[in-house]
């Protein structure tokens, strides 16, 4: 039986050879011949490479006889080979910008090809800067500005009008939110309705806001209102939350999010506990003075701008000390400021009682955090 098939094949190919007998291009050597559904082995015919390069995929067709095919190579290239799209890189973009396609992969690409994205009900997006790198690769650029989000079909149209498409190959989405600033930048953990304004870009209606800190439960905004694509107003319950610098996370309704790292600081109330303010008289009075310098000590629970006012018994403000947040006088913990007993009017404080007010700037407001009566004796 095998022998019989071999005879038949030999007879067939002998006809080809006979038909192409005027050409010396075909050197049929021993190899596998793939035609139709049959894999034929012959030590005489080597036609595989030629046929495969032409991508003859209609293997089952009976339109082509082997004899015609080899004799009419121009027929294969001009009529059959339409563009084929197999992949697109990158496969997505956002509708606020252009995207450069670095590899539109496929086959049968030819110079003059046009590329487009299409979606039902939408205007096609035609690529610019199209470069056919080779028959299997094209680079180009799409302007996705204001395009509808969703899956788009990529189509390559050859110069001869033939086209190839890859359906739902490219995804257009919204841009991710971009959190740039939070105002105010900090709150106090005795507030249960702290309001903040978050500035940035690409905020979408329905965006959610939360504060996050490693090891702590997220503080989800009790209210988040996207007033524009660049502004969200939010409220947080900061009551008893851990002091520290928390990340601010904004998540749009498409689940895209952005984080402003350590964008919001939660602090404890700036307080000097009652009784902790004290005035002590230091060592001995310096030369030319009858007054011993006085050390004013107090604690605050967070860095803050601090003002120390000293009033005399008539209610007159006779001495002031300003300390900026973080400096001596305005740093978290114990602060010590020395008053030499000389008033702002360059006179020695008279003997008597003075009233000390320690004020700190909390949430932009000056607050009296402690006061103390103290004596000046000579």
């Amino acid at each position: 039986m095998r022998f019989l098939k071999a005879i038949i094949v030999l007879v067939l190919f002998s006809q080809i050879v006979l038909a192409a007998s005027t050409s010396t291009n075909y050197k049929l050597a021993s190899d596998v011949v793939s035609l139709g559904t049959a894999n034929l082995t012959s030590a005489s015919y080597n036609v595989r490479s030629v046929i495969r390069q032409r991508q003859i995929t209609i293997a089952s067709s009976t339109s082509f006889s082997i004899g015609e095919g080899f004799l009419r190579t121009a027929y294969f290239g001009g009529v059959i080979f339409a563009p084929i799209v197999t992949a697109i890189t990158p496969g997505s973009g956002t509708n606020n910008t252009t995207v450069d396609i670095t590899n539109l992969a496929g086959a049968n690409f030819q110079d003059g090809a046009a590329i487009k994205l299409s979606k039902s009900g939408q205007t096609d997006i035609t690529a610019t800067k199209v470069v056919v790198v080779n028959s299997g690769k094209i680079t180009c650029t799409f302007d996705l500005t204001d395009a509808a989000v969703g899956l788009w079909t990529v189509t390559v149209v050859g110069s001869d009008g033939r086209s190839g498409s890859l359906p739902s190959a490219f995804t257009i989405g919204y841009p991710a939110p971009d959190v740039k600033a939070v105002a105010p930048e900090k709150g106090v953990n005795n507030e249960n309705n702290a309001a903040v304004i978050i500035s940035g870009e690409y905020f979408r209606s329905g965006a959610s806001v939360k504060l996050a800190l490693a090891g702590e439960n997220d503080i989800v905004a009790t209210q988040a209102l996207t007033t524009s694509s660049t502004k969200i107003t939010a409220r947080f319950n900061l009551l008893n939350k851990t002091a520290g610098s928390w990340n601010v996370v904004v998540t749009n309704d498409d689940e895209q999010s952005d984080t402003l790292v350590q964008g919001f600081k939660i602090s404890a109330p700036v307080l000097a506990s009652p009784g902790i303010v004290e005035v002590t008289h230091l060592a001995e009075a310096p030369t030319n003075s009858v007054l011993k310098p006085m050390a004013i000590k107090y604690n605050i629970t967070d860095d803050a701008d601090v003002i120390i006012n000293i009033y005399n018994m008539r209610g007159e403000k006779v001495w002031v000390y300003n300390a900026s947040a973080g400096s001596e006088g305005g740093k978290v913990g114990t602060n010590e400021i020395v008053w030499d007993g000389i008033t702002a009017f360059n006179s020695f404080a008279s003997e008597g009682v003075y009233i000390l007010h320690v004020m700190a700037k909390v949430d932009g407001q000056w607050k009296l955090i402690n006061k103390l009566k103290f004596a000046v004796v000579k």
């Binding site: 006012n309 209610g315 702002a344 006179s347 008597g352």
Partner: protein, 333 residues
């Protein structure tokens, strides 16, 4: 007459120098500013003072009294310092006499004693004896020139865990020139006694503090063409101590009924936190009274300091004026 008045003014201003004690200077409790009426006018009161509290601002002001008066006032300064004052004045055959007493202080203050601390109470008292009369009592002119003086006795100290006291003496000298019923000029030189004449506070420890001297100059105007019941006033405080800034005060009083008046003013205080070392604060006041020949009146003033409501003080004065003395009835006030 003008020449002699000028000489008097020059003489008083010449006293506007002070010899300060080595331990510095101190003020007296009259800095607060008299009664609630004066405070409601922003302490612009030197040329206005015409009641029993005048010795606290300008002793010359009581020269025109026709009936005895008594006034009290109390307040709390910075919610820490108590302050009471009482003043009484009465005309007499020899002129108008007045006494006034102020006591202020606080308790439970930590006082350093050696290397430790004790709690003590502090008090600061001032007793004044004042006399005032028209200048015409002494010379042939000056019926519209009032002169007055106060002797001031100071007593301060600590009690409780720390006992120490101080005494001092000084005097004020004032003048009020009534140019016409609608215009008055006045000044008062406070604490005129130099250290060499005993014008100091002496502590038991040997420490001496000179008493800060201030000259107050003021004007009071009744703009009758604008409003008959309105009075405007302005003061300037000129401290002898050069490092203390000059302060000013302006005020107004509108007595739209006989026994009802409203007041307002702007009061400038020394302010260590200000680049100019001074700052203005508003003041308002209300007066409700009853009676004609004898009058009972309540004065109220609200005065925030340094534009901070938490530093505001409320002042309440009770005032009583008796019947004019028979012998003085009909005399020009």
């Amino acid at each position: 007459m003008k020449k002699k008045i000028s000489v008097l003014i020059v003489l008083m201003l010449a006293l506007n120098t002070a010899v300060f004690a080595a331990s510095g200077s101190t003020d007296d409790a009259t800095v607060i500013g008299g009664g609630a009426r004066a405070l409601g006018m922003g302490r612009a009161y030197v040329a206005v003072a015409d009641e029993s509290d005048a010795p606290l601002i300008n002793p010359a002001g009581i020269a025109g009294l026709k009936a005895p008066q008594i006034m009290t006032m109390n307040t709390s300064i910075l919610n820490e310092i108590y302050y009471y004052e009482v003043s009484a004045a009465s005309p007499s055959k020899i002129g108008t006499l007045a006494i006034a007493y102020i006591t202020t202080g606080t308790d439970h203050v930590l006082v350093p004693v050696g290397t430790s601390y004790v709690y003590a109470d502090y008090y600061d008292s001032l007793f004044l004896v004042s006399y005032s009369s028209p200048l015409s009592r002494f010379v042939d002119y000056g019926h519209n020139v009032f002169i007055g003086t106060s002797l001031k006795f100071f007593n301060r100290g600590w009690t409780g865990g720390y006992n120490q006291s101080a005494f001092g003496l000084s005097a004020d000298l004032g003048m009020k020139l009534i140019i016409n019923p609608y215009l008055s000029l006045a000044f008062n030189r406070q604490n005129i006694l130099p250290v060499s004449m005993g014008g100091v506070i002496r502590w038991g420890t040997g420490i001496e503090e000179s008493l800060a001297s201030i000259t107050k100059v003021g004007i009071a105007i009744k703009p009758v063409q604008l409003q008959k019941k309105l009075m405007l006033s302005g003061d300037i405080d000129l401290p002898a101590e050069s490092s203390r800034p000059v302060t000013m005060h302006v005020g107004a009083e509108w007595q739209f009924f006989q026994n009802i008046a409203i007041r307002g003013g702007f009061d400038q205080s020394v302010d260590a936190s200000s680049g100019a070392r001074t700052s203005w604060s508003p003041a308002v006041g209300l007066s409700l009274g009853a009676g004609k020949s004898s009058v009972f009146r309540i004065d109220y003033a609200y005065h925030p300091y340094y534009n901070d409501a938490s530093l505001a003080s409320s002042y309440i004065s009770l005032f009583y004026q008796g019947e004019p003395f028979f012998a003085l009835k009909g005399e020009t006030r």
